[in-house]
């Protein structure tokens, strides 16, 4: 079992492209062309359109202006961006708090049972997102299960409005992205040597200080990766606020959709998309900086 794996890894480790030309290089071309034509060119078009202006009947007038970006300074857009970042941050924090115990638990299970638990965490992630969001609509609505249960128990007399609120959006986001947090955390905890935790316990560290001084620093890469994986899709979320949120829970994703399809102000929608992308790139840059810093630390040891 270990011998072929080891020889395989050394062989690939030496250098992927040996002197022998196994496959002609041109077979990369079709895939690369597809990516360029249907991903990079469209992104560049969005960038170009974000500097154009809106035609009288929608559409795009190709005159260069910064108007769209200046318009984004309007307090209304600021508020929506602020709310989106806040929602994404709270979602990330909640997923971390909920996901860490689960990831820790899975990583400390016997090997055979880990696979089963991981699949259980993974399945909802591959289940249709619309369906999973609809499930909460079904549960939270005024005629929904929760209201029925509360009224049946005599806790409330009339149904309470649970759906179409900020809380419902947060719930939907946490529900939607929790698996993204658990998987990288699991990978990090799994690599953590249990002997270190035992040693800390033996030396009479309290549970909290074991967590803070030993577990957390050693699983930091997983924590950061998980946070990024939750933060990014939460920030660009569209379905969750659209279905579970009220009129006041609009997030950037809804605003972009609104500008493109309802107002048909493509230049402004494009500018919005690029600001969203800018925030995400900034988040990723922070991640890579921390990651690189930690790798350096690791190599020094």
């Amino acid at each position: 079992m270990s011998t072929p794996a080891a020889s395989g890894s050394t062989a690939t480790g030496s250098d992927g492209n040996g002197s022998l030309a196994r496959y002609p290089g041109w077979i990369l071309a079709p895939g690369l062309c597809w990516a360029v034509l249907f991903f990079f060119v469209p992104l560049l078009i969005v960038l170009a359109v974000s500097f154009a202006s809106r035609g009288t009947y929608g559409g795009v007038l190709w005159t260069f202006s910064l108007t769209n970006y200046v318009n984004l300074l309007h307090p209304l857009y600021f508020r929506i961006f602020g709310r989106s970042i806040f929602f994404a941050a709270v979602t990330t924090a909640l997923c971390l708090v909920l996901g860490f115990p689960l990831a820790y638990y899975i990583a400390r299970l016997p090997r055979r049972r880990q696979g089963l638990w991981l699949v259980l965490v993974l399945i909802p992630f591959w289940t249709n997102f619309l369906v999973r969001t609809y499930a909460w609509m079904f549960i939270l609505r005024t005629e929904g299960v929760i209201n029925k249960l509360l009224m049946g128990a005599g806790l409330i007399d009339a149904p309470i409005e649970l759906l179409y609120s900020d809380a419902a959006v947060l719930l939907g986001l946490v529900y939607g992205y929790l698996p993204f947090m658990v998987l990288p955390l699991y990978a990090a905890v799994e690599r953590l040597d249990p002997a270190l935790v035992e040693a800390a316990c033996d030396l009479y560290a309290s549970r909290w200080s074991v967590f803070r001084r030993v577990v957390l620093p050693l699983t930091k890469p997983g924590v950061i990766a998980g946070c990024l994986l939750v933060f990014m899709p939460s920030l660009g979320a569209f379905i969750t606020p659209d279905l579970l949120g009220g009129a006041r829970s609009m997030m950037v994703g809804n605003l972009i959709q609104h500008e493109y399809l309802v107002v048909r102000d493509w230049p402004l929608g494009s500018a919005l998309s690029f600001v969203l992308m800018g925030v995400l790139i900034a988040a990723m840059a922070v991640y890579y900086r921390i990651d690189a810093g930690m790798n350096q630390e690791g190599s020094r040891r």
Binding site: R22, Y23, G25, A35, V41, I139, I239, S270
Partner: protein, 260 residues
Amino acid sequence: MTGRRVWLQVMSLGNLLFLYLPVAVLVLFSFNASRLSATWQGFTLKWYTALAEDRALLAATWNSLLVAGVSTVLATGLGVAAVLGLERLGSRSRRVIEGAMLLPLVVPEIMMGVALMLFFVLIKLPLGLPTVIIAHTAFNLPLVMVIVRARHRKLDPRLEEAASDLGATPWQVFRRVTFPLLRPAVVGAALMAFTVSLDDFIVTFFTAGPGSTTLPLKVYSMIKSGVSPEINALSALLVLVSMGLVGLSLAIQGRGIFIR
């Protein structure tokens, strides 16, 4: 020590309950006889039979299968070729091109949706099934590449080298050596791509036109027009299909894939 274990176990089971309970409730009530109420009024299959008679729904299902099928075949072909072609590049340019091609995995879906919509409108390609297929292939390509690449890196390159040394043409090397070794990853990747395509809403929402309504678009418009037991029944079926496909994909790829 034991107190901690119990606490962790309770938290973990709570997490799983949180992940599964809403969908379970949804599925359960797809069998509820009452149209409006969330109270149980007896078992029925009538919402499922109602689905089977919905012509628009059947058309949407057909569109979804067509889009998922064609985009999966395209993305798998392009993706496998790209992974093998990338081998030829120097490590520096390979990293850059690979990184660029995987970028769609981290770009927000809504960004990809609006970008493709603008692109299609500006080149005057009418929105419809072809544009949806192009878009789905674009986001499935990096997915296929990630999965296939992970497996390809673990292969012993000496096997392919040996085949070349013995006079096999590149096509023969591929057919007799590389592909059989990559097969679990390729099939797994194709099933993942199929599932993702079948489930995609946002990119489809922006790139579809009249007559190219897919299943998720249909579900969305049904949800928008109000909660109904038909949606529960349809949801239950979709959950079943996704779970089956993903289970199959994971089983074929083996356990390694999601541990990295």
